[in-house]
Amino acid sequence: MEKSVNYGGHHDDLNLEATKLRLGLPGIISSDIGYEKQSSSASTVVVVRNNKRASPVGIMTQESSSKSHSNVSDARNGDPNSHHQPPAKAQVVGWPPIRSFRRNSFQQKKTDQGDGAGMYVKVSMDGAPYLRKVDLKVYKSYPELLTALENMFKFTIGEYSEREGYNRSEYAPTYEDKDGDWMLVGDVPWDMFIFSCKRLRIMKGSEARGLGCL
């Protein structure tokens, strides 16, 4: 299931709506649908309890649950709030049957480490007037992330080499890790990177060369 990348924050003054990437037919405004975030929600999302099934356009539908089997009569659903399909996104009490101890231990992790679904970090670029945010969970590897950053800020990074960092290019992507140190993007394995990355900064080449020499 694809996730749409939310490139913008909620910067009303910059009118990012017009350039915002999302899945759906043009002309449909997301607020009509009644969702705050996309389907693979971040830990802070509030589930919208809609009893009405929202318009399928622009939403990732749960494919099979929306079809009711032809042999199954209306009587099958014993839930007093019954519909043929389970209400989209509404969470039912005690379902799935996981004990609260287990549920809570992961909630805790999500808030402590920013792990789990949705890992938004700030991205700054030297010389750019405002910051952006990216969801690191969306990417599976460094090339994907770097391409996205290139598109976001309209610049090129060039190739990474262990020895020279990004010396060939004008910019170098760096990040602040858990210890507060500024590191060059690409040195550590991807999984370790997303775990420890707190924010990103795209440094101008001249500054970055200093880093690459270390």
């Binding site: 389907s39 099979s64 659903n77 389970p86 039912v92 999984d191």
Partner: protein, 631 residues
């Protein structure tokens, strides 16, 4: 299994006077037997021993009972004991005298007074309380299942009590205090899914139970009273501790006190730490106790205070030194970098619990490929189908698998699916028990498992999307579950999910002849579904159903069977108060509780929750306001 409970009940009503006579006989026969040093229950005769060696000429009944006692003391299975106790009054009496392990499957089925009156020489008590669905917030809190009346009765009846095992009971600090004070030989306390107590209660246990061997707190809710309970263990001398499990205790622990405790516990074999113990602290504990067989690692992550660049302890060596380690768990806040440290012991592991560790397939593979002896494996679905394939290729001896969801909601991606289940079924042919949470499933994979794993006794599949059909064919999941009950001849426990019609239940009724526990949620079309089960499954003891369209007619169809069951739970179904009333009237020894849950939206006519169970005591006197007991 007894078919007719009424006979047993009548026996019980007549029992007290005979019991007293029986006790007399037993006493005097003990005195004579003590001459030869033989006694019942496999241990020294408790209570007032003979002060002098009196000789009484034994009368014939007594000789018979002596012989019986010597034989029956060896019966350990409670089912065998239940059968033996029905032979005749003499056997009933002697069985009661020689039963040392008392198991109460439902704390309200019998009163403490009655239980302690019948079984007078008990050393070990197990009591289960709340119904399982209460764990998922389906019932308002404070429903009952209090330990207090039991511990009060036992304090006078069983001064020699050694073991207490409680599941889903409400235990207070006062209860724990009374326990610690009343039983000088107390050795083992195991609390599973319990609540109502805190660290103050634990402190009393630690300080007063000088012979304590086992203190196991498993998935229980422990209030943080800010009492340093670990420090209450006696400071000097070796302890008897063999097992200390406190991974569910969500409050910081005094590590220095813990370290000293472990250092003076030479018999300690099982140690499960909570997440407040960092990996560095774990290292120090492991170094002190290489004899451990079961280890719960705590957080398995560096604590905040570790200095940058400080030399990492040699975990590899520490693990390698624990040659007896067979069971590993914990990993509550795992830093995957540390995982390779456990390599030295992987080859010995028979049980591994990664169900709190958010690791992916690659991280798992580093470990699992060494775990050839693994029999029990609990894990998070973060390992994906790929991780399960790795398990299936290595763990040929796997008996029990549990796959828990990291993100327990209906609408997320679902990293594991029918692909993983199929792989497991192909690689792990000895599988006996499976609990599998997933988003998508196919009948084909379930059928494959039913054929590949004939030893399955427990099959619990939770397709998290309600009413979700076969991912590939779009059909209900009837055929898959049907194949399970048909092909797995040893199946005793079943939990169903996904889109299911009455047909699935007809299969269960037709083939599930050994099924004892059945869990149903969001399934079935009509009353027929429940009827099939109640009429078809003679061994059914525990039935829990939620959000399924079963009504009064279905309920009626089980009248012949309810006395054979431990309980029936039905919530958000189609029951009316009248329908439940009918059952209550028809079966006087059944306690029929109608529980009102204000969190559920409902019309006036339907019953929110029906919870009914057989009992010798009639309506309980501690029912809270939201419980109505029908009669």
């Amino acid at each position: 299994m007894r078919k007719d409970r009424t006979e047993m009940s009548e026996d019980d009503d007549r029992s007290p006077p005979l019991d007293l006579r029986g006790a007399d006989i037993a006493e005097s026969s003990n005195k004579t037997r003590n001459c030869s040093g033989v006694s019942g229950s496999g241990g020294p005769v408790p209570g007032p021993g003979p002060s002098s060696m009196e000789f009484q000429a034994p009368y014939p009944d007594q000789v018979l009972e002596n012989v019986l006692e010597n034989v029956l003391q060896f019966l350990s299975s409670r089912r065998d004991r239940n059968a033996a106790s029905l032979v005749c009054r003499s056997w009933w009496r002697v069985e009661a005298l020689t039963r040392s392990d008392l198991f109460i499957g439902n704390c309200y089925s019998v009163s403490p007074r009655r239980a302690t009156a019948r079984f007078t020489r008990v050393r070990s008590v197990s009591i289960k309380g709340r119904p399982r669905f209460a764990d998922f917030n389906l019932m308002p809190p404070d429903w009952g299942a209090h330990f207090a009346p039991w511990v009060t009765a036992m304090a006078s009846a069983y001064p020699w009590l050694e073991k207490v095992y409680l599941k889903r009971m409400s235990v207070t600090d006062d209860d724990l205090t009374l326990l610690a004070k009343s039983f000088p030989s107390f050795k083992e306390l195991v609390l599973v899914c319990c609540d109502g107590f805190g660290t103050s209660g634990l402190a009393v246990i630690a300080s007063k139970c000088r012979q304590l061997k086992v203190l196991d707190l498993i998935e229980s809710e422990v209030t943080d009273d800010e009492v340093d309970w670990i420090a209450f263990f006696p400071e000097s001398g070796a302890t008897c501790l063999e097992s200390l499990i406190f991974d569910c205790v969500e409050c910081p622990i005094n590590f220095d006190a813990l370290e000293r405790l472990v250092a003076r516990s030479p018999s300690l074999k099982k140690l499960r730490l909570n997440r407040f113990v960092s990996i560095g602290q774990l290292y120090r504990l492991m170094v002190r106790s290489p004899q451990l067989t079961h280890l719960g690692t705590g957080s398995f992550s560096a604590s905040e205070g570790m200095a940058h660049g400080e030399q990492e302890p040699d975990f590899f060596t520490a693990f390698a030194a624990c040659r007896s380690l067979v069971c590993l768990s914990g990993f509550r806040e795992i830093l995957p970098d540390y995982l390779p440290a456990i390599h030295p012991i992987c080859a010995n592991l028979t049980s591994l619990n990664f169900s709190y560790a958010n690791i992916n397939a690659d991280q798992l593979k580093l470990v699992i490929f060494h775990c050839h002896k693994l029999q029990i494996f609990w894990v998070l679905d973060s390992i994906c189908d790929e991780g399960l394939q790795a398990v299936s290729s290595t763990c040929k001896d796997l008996r029990e698998l549990r796959v828990f969801p990291f993100d327990a909601r209906e609408d997320n991606e679902g990293p594991v699916s029918d692909v993983g289940l199929q792989a497991i079924s192909e690689g792990c042919r000895k599988l006996q028990s499976i609990l599998y949470f997933c988003q998508h499933m196919t009948n084909a994979a379930v059928i494959a498992m039913s054929r590949n794993c004939p030893d399955l006794e427990v099959f619990r599949l939770c397709i998290m999307g309600r009413h979700r059909p076969d991912r590939v064919t779009g059909e209900p999941m009837d055929e898959g579950f049907g194949a399970i009950v048909m092909n797995c001849k040893k199946l005793t426990r079943l939990a169903v999910s996904g889109l299911l019609t009455d047909r699935a239940f007809s299969y269960i009724g037709k083939y599930g002849k050994l099924v004892r526990t059945l869990s149903v949620a969001f399934a079935g079309d009509s009353d027929m579904g429940l009827k099939y089960v109640l009429e078809g499954c003679p061994r059914l003891q525990k039935l829990e159903i939620r959000d399924s369209p079963f009504g009064d007619a279905a309920l009626r169809s089980g009248l012949h069977h309810y006395y054979n069951m431990r309980f029936l739970w039905m919530s958000s179904c189609r029951l009316s108060p009248q329908g439940c009333q009918e059952i209550a009237r028809a079966l006087p020894r059944l306690v029929v509780e109608v529980i009102r849950d204000d969190a559920i939206e409902h019309t006036d006519e339907t019953v929110d929750i029906l919870y009914m169970y057989r009992s010798l005591e009639g309506p309980r006197d501690d029912a809270p306001g939201f419980v109505t007991i029908l009669q």
